[in-house]
Amino acid sequence: MGKHVGIIGAGVTPFKGTWREKTYYELAQMAAREAIKDAQIHINDVDAAFYGIYNDIFERTAIPEHAIHGLLGMQNKFGIRITNGGATGAYTISAAHAYLAAGRFKTALVLGVEKATDCFDFLSMSATPEVIKAIGWSGDSFFEQPLGWSASDSYAEVVLAYMDEHPGDLKPEITARISSQLSQQVKGNTYAQRQFDQVTPEEVINSRMVAYPFKELEICVYSEGAAALIFAEEETAKAISKNTGKPVIWITGVGEANEHSFAGKNQKVMSRIMSDYYASHRAYEMAGIMEPKESIDIVELHDAFVHQLEISMAEFGLVPLGRADSLIEEGLMTPGGKYVVNPCGGLIYCGHAVGASNIMSAWSARNELVKRDLKTALVHGTGSTVAQYTACMIFEHE
Amino acid sequence: MNKISILGYGAYIPRYRLKIDEIEKAWSDKEYSTRSRRLGVEEKAVAGFDEDEVTMGYEAARNAVKRAGINAADLGGIITGCMSRRFRDKSASAMIAQMLGTSEVLACDCVHSSKSGSSALILGKSMAEAGDRSVLVIATDNPHAAPCDDLEPLSGSGAVAFVCGKGEGVAHIEGSYSCSREVYDIWQPVEVPYMYYDMNVSRQQFRDVTVQATMAYMERHGTKVDDYSYFVLSQQDARAPLGVARALKIPKEKMAAGFLCMRIGDLYSASALIGLAAILDTAKEGERILASSYGSGGADIIGLRVGKGIKGRKDACPSVEDYLNDKVYIDYLSFLRYSHVL
């Protein structure tokens, strides 16, 4: 199992649709600065850096982390870049945890940065089609790209297969209510891209259909921003915690799974997100959680789409498969309910700065555990075509 | 009365030179070659592959600001005169302001004529007179004539800049006279890449209007040719200005200091003014200069008297002669590459 690893500092930049005045490198430094200030340490005290960077095309440079390393003052130390689709941030946390648990380092910086709108489409004078095109490069070059593959339709296939298998679940009025509730939750997140963008369920239902069954207000928004965490192994973490007076949030469980990307026998089960199932249950096992329904208090989930949020909650074992609508119908995630789901507003309202998103989720989970004085949180990241990649983490408040 | 002087000036000439022989070699069957030789231009200055009117204007501006001994932040205005601007919508002055590191400044361009440089200088003088901050005036050009065109051996590149302000400077601006007329001599509709021109009309108009304007200026200021130690004119080629000089009875030696056309070609809006900069490099206190610039059928005449400030300012930055001497000869193919034709 290795050493205990805990979070001792965290910081994010505001998430924005576009950071016109900041460079990619500046955003990275801004988040790292917040995190080391939070941990009250010097950058020289950090042993290793883990960079979560989604996509070179977004940043207009290959190996974008090479410049950040020196700019942060991390020269002559360990630095590694993690790129794992939408789950990049979660996988970066997982990688940093592994190195620290193995005793390789005492402290580590986990940094995710994204600057999506630097890729620009001059025909439409907008960044959006170019961002979507850049994401389109993640489809495989033989079967997917020539079809006009996009992230939306690949997740839609999974959601529609689930809906065929479980008719009556994922009702449009429920997904609309979830989106509306997330828009209320984001109010408290001053770093969110859509902090003041509150919507009613009716507005969600009447919003434009992007790729059936996803409506515009049920899809995450691409965002620019950075998020950073400082990890430390047990003894160092305790010492730093004593200094800052902030409790250590321990990472007690980590689990990952990447599915097959094609449907078929022993391949992708279209109606399920098995990666979520395996990753979460592996994390539970490592954390010693027997009954997730009883243990999990906060879920910081990668909600690329509201429908996928519901299915993921079912795959985590927090609601029954086929009864994901009970999240609202039985009040499981409504205010005062059993679970606190995406208190930061999630990726739909806080924003999806791909490499930084899951790290922002971890930042939020850590803050909420302390603020609400709760015990256990589940942090989740999903990505790649047909919800193929997942990494999950269990955070525990001491 | 507020005396407006040129507080500092600076020039920039790119280091590449193309000998007219090279053009004649490239287009050996073209009849124009003998004519261009008769026009007296031996070589022309060519902007490098990575240079254009903005980078050259910036270099000249930096020299002028340095020679004036002021900070760019002290400037109240930047006016750039440029005929061959490649952008129809993008302020060169604002870019040069950014490059110099100032933003609280009125930056505007003076374009569409080969006398936009002198017009900018007259505007800059008036602006400095009206306000309390100095004004930077830049004349820069990077003209591109079509390959094998009659203008190709003549069009050179370079820039010159002046800082106008109150106080005793390099030279006091005594006065100016402008006359504007309409004639189709050089014109370029927006949809064509190169200028159209009528050389005969151009030379005729240049001669007539320059003679008339110079006499009008001298009449108004009660001066005569003998009062001036130096004359500098627009130099489309090395022949036309001498014709004007003969008509005005200006001795050849008074033309020599500012006569650079044979060594760099016609710099359009910077043509007369780079000659003025060369004169200031050699002039002594108390000497008077008459500069005239021709464009679009009209002319601007500017009279100057060299002031006390000339002493000690000469070595602040490279002189025109320094730039003239720092040269690298290129062949015709390199010229086409540097001009982005190839």
Partner: protein
């Protein structure tokens, strides 16, 4: 513009955002210990400072080391060669830049240089990107 100059077609606010750096070699200085950096910094590796001021560097210095690129990405100079060097600035910090207005074979370590501004490339559609360059100092 030649094809080669369009090697990066996608750009946006990025080119506006970097104007101070590209035009004036803007550096940053730690407000606490005064450490100077050519790049924009927010975390001082010398002290624990996290506040910085932006300062314009003089751009004057001498060649610390350089290399002549003979198989160039940018076909900018004759013979297709250009010099890229590390310049030790008067302030003591080092900046990387192209050395122009000189044959790459004539560049010498220790040679005095100063900044100028040149066209670096042209981006679709018609955006000219200017950037600082080093040239031999005249005086």
């Amino acid at each position: 513009m030649t094809e080669e100059f369009r090697f990066i077609e996608h750009c946006a606010g990025d080119i506006n955002r970097t104007i101070p750096k590209r035009y004036r070699l803007q550096g940053s200085q730690c407000s606490k210990c005064g450490a100077l950096f050519v790049t924009k910094r927010l975390i001082c590796p010398e002290c624990k400072g996290t506040d910085f001021e932006e300062v314009a560097l003089t751009g004057r210095g001498k060649v610390y080391t350089y290399s002549a690129v003979r198989v160039p990405l940018l076909p900018v100079l004759k013979k297709g060669a250009y010099a890229i060097g590390v310049i030790e600035l008067e302030e003591g910090v080092k900046a990387e830049g192209q050395i122009v207005d000189i044959d790459p074979d004539d560049v010498k370590v220790g040679m005095k240089v100063e900044t100028t501004i040149r066209r670096a490339r042209e981006e679709y559609p018609g955006k000219v990107i200017y950037m600082y360059r080093f040239k031999p100092a005249r005086q």
